[in-house]
Symmetry: C2
Subunit: 305 residues, 2 copies
């Protein structure tokens, strides 16, 4: 296994102006691992309840995702999230969050996972992120995500996480909240002073911004004429990004980070074209190559001289 993700495996009930789905497969570790599986060997560390369906486990198996770290809590129910998006498809209105088995999640890494070189700590309680960091041996590269709930509710542990990671992926508004600074460049620099060497700011339909000490990079999202469900876009992005890096590209030279951001953007843009993992889990390498080419054309400016 090259890459491990700790996060959620969930059932989501999602409504957008383009449709509605009840209790479909979701969760950060799910989107991440399926996206990453197109690039590298990936494993998940997560918990589900006894209600977790065989056919949903099959989605992981189909993508050869290592589920030795996927725990089933006896008598428990899988984490459930219910949300609704407006036409702008930005931040959803959360209608319901049932933590269920997630409330008692204390991840224990299978022995085989402790040597993993690439680690992604998806958006989850910073205490859980720290527990995982304590169990891995000497990862080559660690990235993490977080959200306003932890920034406001457990800033202390979140700052401990930041000291131990290489890359933070974070939404635009949450970067501002975390840094307590409206200007994004200044916000990213402040976050970098707390630990990570790179901050990747996710801006939804506007794409991502990568800020490191000596580099600034912007990748627009691909303008699609049909977006059905943005759920999982950030985690699909992270999965493509980390999958690309774990597939032998590492963090150096700087251009490989940019290539990885391109790979992540490709996966996110494919994911949002259908509900749940319907499109993300049914991609061919040709689908990925085609979107990759479209992205490359999107921003290229040839010099005229």
């Amino acid at each position: 296994m090259n890459l491990l993700v700790v996060g959620t495996v969930a059932y989501d009930s999602v409504k957008t102006p383009f449709g509605e789905e009840a209790s479909v497969l979701g969760g950060s570790a799910t989107y991440f691992s399926v996206a990453a599986s197109y690039f590298t060997e990936v494993g998940v560390l997560a918990v589900v309840g006894e209600d977790f369906k065989r056919e949903d486990l099959a989605t992981f198996e189909k993508h050869h995702i290592d589920t030795s770290g996927l725990e089933t809590a006896l008598g428990g129910t899988t984490f459930h999230w219910e949300g609704e998006y407006g036409y702008d498809l930005n931040d959803p209105k959360t209608l319901k969050t049932d933590l269920n088995v997630l409330a008692e999640f204390n991840p224990r890494l299978p022995e085989a996972c402790r040597d993993v070189p690439y680690l992604f700590l998806a958006n989850i309680d910073p205490r859980v992120q720290l527990q995982v960091l304590d169990q891995v041996k000497a990862p080559h590269l660690v990235a993490a995500d977080t959200m306003n709930y932890w920034i406001e509710g457990n800033r202390e542990d979140l700052l401990k996480v930041l000291r131990r990671i290489d890359i933070l992926t974070i939404n635009e508004s949450e970067a501002r909240l975390l840094a307590q600074e409206f200007n994004l460049v200044k916000a990213a620099r402040r976050i970098i002073s707390w630990g990570p060497r790179t901050v990747i700011i996710k801006r939804g339909e506007y794409g991502v911004l990568e800020i490191s000490e000596n580099s600034i990079f912007a990748m627009p999202a691909y303008p699609l004429d049909s977006v059905r469900d943005p759920t999982g876009a950030g985690d699909s992005f992270a999965g493509g990004f980390m999958g690309f890096l774990a597939n032998g590209h590492g963090l150096e030279p700087p251009q490989s980070v940019r290539q990885a951001i391109l790979a992540g953007s490709v996966m996110a843009s494919l994911n949002v074209q259908d509900f749940s993992l319907r499109r993300l889990s049914a991609l061919t390498q040709d689908d990925i190559r085609e979107r990759h080419r479209a992205f490359q054309q999107l921003t290229v400016v040839e010099s005229l001289d």
Copy 2:
């Protein structure tokens, strides 16, 4: 003269979280022509009142902008706009609009302007835009801007304008309003079906999106660690864009449109770093080249294979 702009020359009173300025030089034709002047010979078609100051006229003269179309309305007062921006520096709250001389503006093109090959119809009453279109002979390329006020208040004349232009530059929310379609790709295609072959959607701090029949191009804005006043960003963009095209690059091949968008983005990003035209009117070619290089680095992804 290679390029003519019809629009406003104004006095603006602007407040942002970073400062406040009362009755300083502004207006769409002002920002446009000064930005364009770094690339080509440009003239303005606009009206001011008797209060218009000698020192503000000097700003045009310094940039060798042709002011033979700048009319002074006897007994009139210059158009005045008052607005305030929040920390997000997006759409300002308009506190006051005194049309003054603008209410009676019926532009008459000096004979020497009628052969102008490149024409920009800045955001102004579509009836005025049509009057100008009726007076030019056979322009090589015409672009126009507009705003919600005209989309809602004079859609009929605006649609007549669209039939006669090559490029529309428009804010994101206004593109949606004009096309009555939330999805931007679909909105742009609908607008293209009404006349222009290219729609350039301005997204503020997120940059611009160019949509033509066979091409989609995205240029992020440069993430600056200090933005003091976004007033005039869209017009500075248009000035750099049209100035670049008028400087011998034309609209073909597609790459020159992308280069022009880059030039426009450079001018907008320099303009927002200070109030009024303080920075825009004091640039050196080195300032422009340096920002141009920074922009080129911002989006480049080298292939790893």
